[in-house]
Symmetry: C2
Subunit: 318 residues, 2 copies
């Protein structure tokens, strides 16, 4: 029997925006939202709400900021689908949130490093008091030492937030590590009624596989993106989740239409996914920034080191 | 501690040849072989030995047949690397094998459906008597009913062959099914001293993940191909295996060089991998032939149904 508690969270625009500076064609975002509603996707994350005093709106697409008017221009209220936006700890204007009753947004996801969990809880409490559902996403779990992670999870267990995410930012983990961490998150968070989510990157072609391992362990919030669009190697694909999950409310066809209409071309242009520089940073448990720089230079036709030189230059580096 | 019994079997030319009729540039095959030797890959499968009375050599590249002279033209004896070729049951000329002492080939892999296992054993005995190592690869494990599979495995346990392969021809399985089948294969075959191998397809981006699950269960022969080149969605990538395995004899750099020099361009031309028609046949546990036809027509610029129509036309089909 399928698990009705399982939710798909599509973060195509939010995570994918890291590849195109959130400069999506507006009709694409409308079609994406409508298609995901038709597919039965539970949450659609339409971008970040970045601080405009830190990021100039002239230099970024609208989904870097997710003004209420922009959200309402592309999305609509739908019974089975909620809207989410993400905030980075330390880059968020506390005054940029309407009360939930006046907003089309249902969930705020706070992205944080483990060391900043106090700040994340502070921001989470702020938006929780305004009526939003709150998730805290602890990024870069593969770079956190265990006592710090345990302490962050215990602090989050004491909040009234809904969800805490296990995030493999660097695409480093395989199944045994996912099992270990999923059990840890669930053991600490489930007793206080929280759900656990999982957000994987695809550097080693393991994002979908690791998400399935999360499901097997009891994780219920699953991040995906259409055609895997996301930073560097990208994410678990939403269409694979729709194909895998047995809840009859899910429908694969609208996701296939989105891939066909928009995302194959975008992929050709932007080249997230299984590229050797991203594979290398993944297997070495490193931030993808050097891989992104390598790919950018390569796609601009500049002289770049060979993939094997790129790999060897990363060995033994701190 | 790493498991020294683990062997990587690269089948780029054999399985990849299904995408280009084995018409590889000869220098590519030479460079591939030399690179895989340098990478520490244990077996390199250079193609099929198809029956020339059934397949006209004028209509296929040389790696459809693997004549000894062609093999010696591209490969050389190397202490850590053996050469394999594959034969299909029912499409093999028994007289096409030299005695092992006169051949550069070490292993013959017999590809069979479970129902033809008697024929596979007959062919395996023939080449075993000539001095070769023998593997039997039971294709399409996701379409075999359990008593037939058990019986085939028991018959293979009674041979003097070295290896039996679990093959997910349609890219349908995820971890729980791999665990179940790996245990079954190992329980029946290990007591008679056989090794078990695993060959996965990547329709759901699970080929590497499932291969890792096979390792965890005790499977020691791992198929991969450079950049995943293989039929339809392709295979587990050899470079991911080289990056994952801890045996210090393995070296990722030569595989990265091969990807860069040859396989990115080949991929652009031939488009194996994560394409929606292959994803659809994978999740529905179907042979990829309709997906291949769809992709061929699409790439030839013909009018084809949408991906969602392709998907829906496969639902409920026998």
């Amino acid at each position: 029997m399928y698990r009705p508690e399982i939710k798909i969270m599509d973060c195509t625009i939010r995570d994918g925006g890291l590849m195109n500076n959130w400069e999506f064609d507006r009709q694409l975002v409308r079609d994406l939202y409508a298609g995901l509603v038709e597919a039965g996707v539970d949450y659609v994350e339409l971008g970040y709400r970045a601080d405009k005093s830190e990021f100039d709106p002239k230099n970024h697409g609208p989904w870097r900021f997710c003004d209420e008017a922009d959200l309402r221009d592309v999305a609509f209220e739908a019974p089975g689908t909620k809207i989410s936006i993400m905030c980075d700890v330390g880059r968020t204007d506390y005054d940029a949130f309407l009360p939930k009753a006046d907003s089309i947004v249902s969930m705020i996801r706070v992205a944080t490093y483990a060391k900043d969990v106090d700040k994340a809880i502070h921001l989470g409490n702020h938006v929780k008091a305004m009526g939003y559902e709150v998730s805290v996403n602890i990024m870069a779990a593969s770079h956190v030492i265990e006592p710090d992670l345990d302490e962050a999870l215990r602090q989050l267990a004491d909040t009234n937030f809904e969800v805490v995410y296990l995030v493999d930012s660097f695409g480093y983990f395989y199944s045994e590590q996912i099992h270990y961490l999923a059990e840890k998150y669930l053991n600490i968070l489930k007793p206080s009624g929280k759900e656990v989510g999982i957000h994987c990157h695809n550097n080693q072609q393991l994002a979908f596989a690791n998400t399935v391992e999360g499901i097997i362990k009891g994780i219920n919030y699953l991040d995906g993106s259409i055609y895997g669009m996301g930073r560097a190697a990208g994410n678990c694909t939403t269409e694979l989740l729709l194909g895998f999950l047995k809840n009859p409310k899910y429908n694969l066809s609208p996701a296939l239409d989105l891939v066909e209409k928009y995302f194959m071309d975008l992929h050709k242009e932007l080249r997230w996914g299984y590229e050797m520089p991203y594979m290398v940073t993944g297997i070495l448990n490193k931030h993808p920034r050097t891989g992104l720089a390598h790919m950018d230079a390569m796609m601009a036709g500049k002289d770049v080191p060979s993939f094997s030189d790129f790999y060897e230059s990363h060995l033994g580096e701190g």
